[in-house]
């Protein structure tokens, strides 16, 4: 029997949220300080939620594994945040943002959630501006916008190439204000290692103080998980090194369903892998696709010569370049959505046209030369420079690029030692964002009462693919404007409960489980480091559960991951002791969870006999290589229920996706 009740409010789409808000139960202000809430994670989602809940008067305990909430992974987001403000007067609206997001998600997202997201998006910008987020402005003092992949309006707000940083610092400053007032107790360098359930409700967590090594019990009336995504299951990704699935996976093991784990976003514009010593991949913001043209040589001999260092990109003539996105998708060109752009790059590299001299010969060019000259010309006209020389045009264009993307160009040069003003950037897709996550209902509550999940850690708003600049939007929407309302509805029943004691058997048992694991790791004395197993897992995931998936590959992956997992538990070596800082022990806990999740991702990918968004099944593609969705059989959310150690036994529950307000179409960007 399924517990999947999405609790989508009745009524017309555009009134659902308002109507729901009007009818939910409230906790009166004088009762709020009788209620404790734990927030795990202080990224955009958790940081904004913790600040808002504290401001409303609840007692908040917030946790993050970094040394400061300001360092959450959200800080790394570069490009921007969407909002349906229609400041540019180009026909944007709540409906259009909703529609683009649903379509971009390949019709695998929940209509009501996405509409709500679009609806509150405009508010997010107002909120952030009032907090002092320095968004880009035009000369009239008004906010500026750029456009992003998959859309034909300019609705993306940005703060240079550091939008995530500025939004997070905004949330962090509001959080700091509440910390200063004593309304939030902040637990830095603490990791949640388990959820505690008392009488069927989430009532606390077990956390480890990463500095002292102490295992601690924390109780609350509700627990909010805002721990981010699980892209690091691939070992190499654009995620911060410490990003992990542990909090989400631990609640999964305690009864929360895990939805659509196979939906992973592979971002098209990352710096290619340099070699075997690599630890992490670096993203080049997607906004660059506004100004850069993507190409590989038309002739395979040119690609080979480039890889061998005998030819340079600049010397390939215009007519010998294959601008394959513009060729295949004339309507959207270089601005097709991420999944489309990524697959197209893979297709060219698989066919032998890759330009990077690495083990896999994978890489394509992102070229700014056309834009530099174009902007140079515009600038010359504006400055009344008649008959400018080519050098003048180049210089003017270059300064335009510098103003817009300067920090990204510097970052690229530091990493690769190439100057992207002179020679095109080299890029290749990399694992970036995870659309799957903990299943939640409309109120953002998981299948465990009292356990809410927000931001990238849940599954709800993106479907099979995420359009650019929508994750930041979702994180802040959840944290500032959705959860604070919906959690009140749940907590209204708890005003007489009183403090939750941490001495109950549930706490004891959960704590013992963690302490036993610590003992196991430290005493196992195996022969291989944690990273060794993580790399093995990552390799299987990238090759067989990556950009192109086949049933055979997935079956192999399931078996191989199982073997790596067994080897891990037999042979892992974790030096050091339990007291004090032990970074290897931290990693061991995280990789143990990735090994289980990885297997579930492959199982989910195998069962979904269709292609959609980030899930591309080679056996479900059209003759010209486009994804082939199967709406008859797969228009549902696949939510998995844990059944004990053998991941193969997880039970699938389905939430049918019902589209009342839009017509489900084949996604085409041609």
């Amino acid at each position: 029997m399924s517990k999947l009740d999405s609790r989508i409010p009745a009524g017309p789409l555009k009134d659902k949220w308002k109507h729901h808000k009007d009818h939910m139960n409230l906790v009166a202000p004088n009762n709020r300080d009788k209620i404790d809430i734990i927030v795990v994670g202080t990224g955009l989602a958790g940081g904004s939620a913790a600040a808002t809940l504290a401001e409303q008067g609840y007692n908040v305990k917030a946790f993050c594994y970094q040394d400061s909430p300001r360092r959450a992974h959200s800080i790394a987001a570069q490009g921007g945040i969407n909002a349906a403000k229609n400041y540019q007067g180009d026909g944007d609206s709540t409906y259009r943002l909703f529609y683009d997001t649903i379509k971009g998600g390949d019709y695998r997202a929940r209509e009501a959630n996405v509409y709500r997201l679009a609806e509150v998006s405009a508010n997010i910008i107002d909120q952030c501006v009032s907090q002092g987020v320095p968004f880009g402005r035009d000369y009239g003092g008004q906010l500026d916008n750029r456009s992003f992949g998959g859309v034909q309006v300019k609705r993306t707000f940005y703060a240079k190439g550091q939008t995530g940083q500025q939004l997070l610092l905004g949330a962090y400053s509001s959080l700091s204000r509440q910390i200063g007032k004593g309304r939030v107790k902040m637990y830095n360098r603490h990791e949640m290692l388990d959820l505690v359930i008392v009488d069927g409700k989430a009532r606390g967590i077990i956390a480890r103080n990463l500095v002292t090594g102490e295992v601690e019990r924390h109780s609350a009336h509700a627990v909010v998980i805002a721990s981010g995504g699980y892209g690091n299951v691939y070992f190499l990704s654009t995620n911060a090194m410490g990003s992990n699935v542990s909090a989400a996976w631990k609640i999964h093991k305690k009864g929360a369903y895990f939805a659509n784990p196979c939906y992973v976003q592979i971002h098209p514009t990352c710096i290619p892998v340099h070699g075997t010593q690599q630890s992490k991949l670096t993203l080049m913001s997607e906004s660059l696709r506004n100004s850069g043209r993507i190409w590989v040589p038309k002739k395979i001999e040119d690609s080979i010569a480039i890889r061998e260092g005998k030819l340079r990109a600049e010397s390939i003539k215009e007519e010998d370049r294959d601008y394959y996105l513009e060729r295949r998708y004339p309507a959207f060109g270089n601005l097709v959505p991420r999944d489309v752009a990524s697959r197209a790059a893979k297709e060219r590299c698989d066919a032998g046209f890759g330009i990077e001299n690495n083990d896999t010969k994978e890489g394509v060019y992102l070229d700014f030369s056309t834009e530099i000259m174009k902007k140079g010309r515009e600038s010359a006209i504006e400055k009344h420079i008649h008959n400018p020389t080519d050098q003048q045009l180049y210089d003017l264009g270059k300064s335009w690029i510098e103003e817009k993307y300067g920090n990204l160009f510097v970052m690229y040069e530091k990493i690769t030692a190439d100057d992207p003003y002179k020679t095109p950037m080299k890029i290749y897709p990399a694992v970036h964002y995870t659309m799957g996550g903990v299943w939640v209902d409309y109120n953002l509550q998981s299948t465990i009462p009292g356990c809410f999940v927000i931001g990238e850690a849940n599954f709800s708003d993106h479907g099979a693919n995420r359009l650019g600049a929508s994750a930041l939007m979702q994180g802040l929407a959840d944290g500032y404007f959705v959860l604070p309302y919906t959690i009140a509805d749940y907590l209204s029943a708890d005003i007489r409960t009183g403090t939750i004691p941490t001495t109950s058997p549930s706490f004891e048992e959960a704590e013992k489980g963690i302490k036993d694991k610590i003992d196991f790791f430290l005493n196992n004395k195996g022969t291989h480091s944690v990273d060794h197993f993580h790399k093995l897992l990552g390799n299987i995931m990238w090759n067989k559960v990556g950009m192109g998936r086949t049933p055979e590959g997935l079956r192999e992956a399931i078996k191989e991951i199982d073997e790596v997992r067994k080897a891990f538990w037999k042979d892992v070596k974790v030096p050091g002791d339990a007291e004090g800082m032990n970074t290897e022990l931290e990693k061991a806990f995280r990789v143990a969870d990735f090994l289980e999740l990885g297997q579930l991702m492959a199982i989910d990918a195998l069962h979904r006999n269709e292609s959609c968004g980030g899930h591309f099944r080679e056996d479900h593609s059209t003759p010209d290589g486009e994804a082939e969705r199967d709406d008859v059989n797969f228009k549902y959310v696949g939510a998995w229920e844990y059944q004990g150690e053998d991941i193969n036994n997880e039970v699938l529950h389905k939430e049918d996706l019902i589209y009342d307000n839009i017509e489900v179409k084949t996604r085409s960007y041609k």
Partner: protein
Amino acid sequence: MSAKKGLHLTLKIWRQKNNKSKGQFETYKISDVSTDSSFLEMLDILNENLINEGKEPIAFDHDCREGICGMCSLYINGRAHGPDTGITTCQLHMRMFKDGETIVIEPWRSAAFPVIKDLMVDRSAFDRVMAAGGFISVNTSGNTLDANAIPVPKEDADKAMDAAACIGCGACVATCKNGSAMLFVGAKVSQFALLPQGRIEAKRRVLNMVQAMDEEGFGNCSNTGACEVECPKGISLENIARMNREYMSALVDKG
């Protein structure tokens, strides 16, 4: 790309079990480090070797490895974030080093940043300074003015953005002989002082933040400018000047 070269290096690294114990330098050898690797990847390889030899790996802080989270630190050959300007340690690449070189690696050194272990330090003093006033007192309910109802001159917005780019890494403090946090605090004060939204409580903010900064044990600024040189985000000394102006005028007002 030219053939990749493997570097052979000698590393002198500060090891310290915890805040209570005394630390000392240990010497390690490492070979075949690709010049395309980052500095932190080089430490990863060393750690992998140490683990394989049954030793404890070196603890160091890092997370994003993209130069934005501000978590990585390290004093390398006597310089915060190593021998390059405008970058963090995670962006430092091994092509900056020569084969056979000896590299000295230490934690940030400042009274306000106690060592946690090896190369890791505690920078939570920054958070406490922020909690004392590094914000605009606005509720997070979304019931605010329409964003375009607060026009901001582009020049001011850009300047505010430049100040806001501080990543809170602490290199400024570590490199300053007085252990001053003026660049960090000045950047925050400036960001808000430059925006109309932040002006309203500007005086209160600067007084509170400066007081918290002093209480945390950060030293005074003697205008040597070392902080600006080592700041990975190019935060300019102008921000210290602006903070001083803000502070003086707030004091005058306070009478």
